[in-house]
């Protein structure tokens, strides 16, 4: 097998204005990952490269373009897993980093742990040279708009799935 790369950009009711950007985004990410494996790179290097490209694309809910919490902040989660030895690394509720997947890989490769969360994840990222970015650089106007609309209908995630779909904007999820 000469290497295979498959990517997704999230399963949800994607609004039409994001269709083209979403499609171009996943195509570019698949090409990116394929170039890595084609050049002799490892599967871990390829998934990191492809997902970083998706994180940097504001059309997707990850990295730049992440949605907002009720307190109007960005909290991101990421996972990397290698099938060779079932090694895994993850971060949860990390803030102010451009590429959470990069930190997840560092957790996998530089610690004996599987997951670091919150401030601990941010401290770990900083100690490994990951630059902290201003929170606003991760937030898009669409994310702000969506939060304002959501606030009219809900104060919890579960409620969003119990409200008539006609009342809600087209919302993404994990």
């Amino acid at each position: 097998v000469g290497g295979v790369v498959v990517v997704h950009g999230g399963a949800w009711d994607i609004p039409q204005h994001l269709w083209k950007a979403s499609m171009e985004g996943v195509k570019a990410a698949a090409r990116c990952g394929y170039q890595v494996v084609g050049g002799g790179g490892s599967a871990v290097e390829a998934v990191e490269a492809a997902v970083m490209m998706l994180e940097d694309n504001p059309a997707f809910d990850a990295g730049t373009g992440s949605v907002l919490t009720l307190e109007e902040e960005v909290e991101m989660d990421a996972l990397v897993m290698s099938g060779a030895g079932l090694q895994a690394g993850a971060v949860a509720a990390i803030k102010n980093v451009k590429n959470p997947v990069k930190v997840a890989r560092l957790v996998m490769e530089k610690t004996p742990h599987v997951m670091l969360a919150g401030e601990g994840a941010n401290h770990f990222a900083a100690s490994h040279g990951i630059t902290q970015v201003p929170p606003d650089t991760l937030v898009t106007p669409y994310a702000k708009q969506e939060l304002e609309i959501m606030k009219k209908y809900s104060t919890s995630v579960d409620t969003l799935f119990n409200v008539s779909p006609q009342k809600l904007p087209q919302s993404g999820h994990d």
Partner: protein
């Protein structure tokens, strides 16, 4: 959410998944994405999977591991994903999707939401889609 599953030229697999979560989530809420077996799973003996969807539902059924376990029975990859999504829908009413690659290089994808942009590269060809039945 975004994600990727890879089989490299050394026949090793890997997956990665990343998310900003869900709009208006409670601060501190964590969904399936960072949890091995829920947001993704990779095992060279079977393949690699990256999932997306309603995080609480995916966590409850350990969706990624469910898919890999189903793939291990020999079921085609896309069918394994579809079967696992149906199980999730029946047991906890959640929707979602996933992409996967087997240790033999078979690619699969499926989703129970209105859309999921996907793309895969194999044999120097790019395939892609977003809507059902594409």
């Amino acid at each position: 959410t975004v994600g990727c599953a890879v089989l490299d030229t050394f026949c090793h697999t890997a997956c990665a998944t990343s998310t900003g979560g869900i709009t208006a989530k409670m601060p501190g809420r964590v969904g399936d994405t960072p949890v091995p077996g829920a947001g993704g799973y990779a095992d060279d003996q079977v393949g690699a999977v990256s999932t997306t969807g309603h995080g609480e539902s995916l966590l409850k059924v350990c969706l990624a591991h469910h898919i890999v376990t189903t793939m291990a029975t020999g079921m085609p990859v896309s069918d394994s994903i579809q079967r696992s999504l149906e199980y999730m829908g029946q047991r906890v009413s959640g929707c979602g999707g996933a992409v996967a690659v087997s240790r033999c290089g078979e690619v699969g994808f499926a989703f129970t939401t209105p859309r999921m942009p996907w793309a895969y590269a194999k044999d120097n060809q790019l395939h892609y889609g977003m809507h059902p039945r594409e």
